[in-house]
Amino acid sequence: MKPQAPKRQPYGTLELGLLNVQDLHVAYGKVEVLHGVSLEVAEGEIVALLGSNGAGKTTTLRTLSGLVRLRQGRIVLGGEDITRLPAHKVVASGLGHVPEGRRIFGPLSVEENLRLGGYLLRHDLAEVEKRVHASYALFPRLAERRHQLAGTLSGGEQQMLAIARALMLEPRLLVLDEPSMGLAPKLVFAIFAIIQQIRAKGTSVLLVEQNARQALRIADRAYVLESGRIALSGPASALAADPRVRAAYLGG
């Protein structure tokens, strides 16, 4: 599958991406972990965020979705400033976040997990049901297990559920944190295929991945995060060919 050329939409005289992050500084206590991260995701793009463990990838995503307070910086999503919005309002403005480790609600059933994904639509129950069924169409496996407790699912099924849950609100930007973690190679490919499908339906994707080769294969552009700073950025193909990236993340 060939990457589509990113479509860009003009906002006034400026050309702005869907997501625009400027100079993000984040600290835990006295220890600053992000030292001015800037990045951008255009409409219809898949953007990969690479880096070693501890570089600050997860913190970046958690800051975008409002789970972590930032010290300084600006986050704009589709022209709306979401910098200081609490997490539940960021979701409402169109950012879906599939967290690291999936974080499904284990003691709740698969269907309850999906419905919660549509929590903001709770006043339109018919719409929620419609979207739950759309999820089942996309992931037939979940339909079979709809009444099972989510905690009893296999790792791959849990990841599916986490993605389906985040798609319930039809976000403009889907943020995925290590979706391939702990999965068998074949499932990893399947997950990446699904990410491409998601983009094909019009949702932009920001992807944190440790599996750099796979991520660069489906991404349009990528950033490399090192010790809380963006060290490299560019088109995915260029980064995949970059000797520095190859040495550090692609095994030479």
């Binding site: 979705s65 409002g66 789970l67 609490p86 997490a87 539940h88 979701v91 409402a92 976040h97 967290p99 974080r103 499904i104 609600f105 284990g106 003691p107 709740l108 309850e112 419905r115 919660l116 994904g117 929590y119 903001l120 709770r122 905690g151 849950r165 985040a166 609100l169």
Partner: protein
Amino acid sequence: MQAFFQFTVEGLTIGGFYALVALGYTMVYGIIRLINFAHGDVFMVGAFIGWTVLVTLAGTHLPIVLALFVALATSLFFSGALGVVIDRVAYQPLLAAPRLSILITALGVSLALENGVLLIYGPGFLTYPHLLGTAGFTIGGVQISYAQTTMFVISLALMFALYLFVHRTFIGTAMRALAVDQDAARLMGIDVERIIQITFFVGSFLAAAAGMMEGLYYTQINFYMGFLLGLRAFTAAVLGGIGNIPGAMAGGLLIGLLESYGAGYISSRWTDVFVFLVLIGVLVVKPTGLFGERVVERM
């Protein structure tokens, strides 16, 4: 044997009150890991609001059933609102602070409610209108009053309603999700602070229902009643596995029975010792309570 059944009837009646109050402890604990020491006092406040309305309406010509309904509605609504206010003023600002500081404000709220009621209503016992009477029926020599039956049925109905609320509504599902993983719940668009407030409202609402029923059943209330009952309801919540809603219901009924048997077969002076020893025994054997807790321990 007849005595045993008599104790059982009495135990289930008071156990219903314990269960209703225990639900408030367990729901709040499940969500924000706080032992809400003021909860027993909300139960007491509920009883006092109900008393005030009933006594005020006694002068009018309102039919008794209607007066009861008005009193119940007022008491439940205002007690629920009180729960929300307590959460907003004393707990929300401290959710990120050390766990013990929020416990101390809970104790502070408890003291403030008790002493506030003491200031308004005085230290003595107040008498609830005798509306229930002592009429009843007898099965195999065991006397069961209509009052006991009504109380027990109302308790069960409220618990069933809560069960439906928690399992069949969006808000209820959100509550359970919140108890598992707050951050993941936020990512679903759930306004966590608001759900916490709703939890306080529902818990306080149920406690006030128990408070009014206790007033109607025993016909005497006083500012200190919430402390003793709260202690036993809290014990019930832990016995059932704190954070676990069906556990709190079962735990409440169980504590009611234990208390009744303890008072009947041993001595009412030793009831609390008996109840606490059973609790400690259960926790030593099964540290998460009889029915386990709904807490996912993360590494």
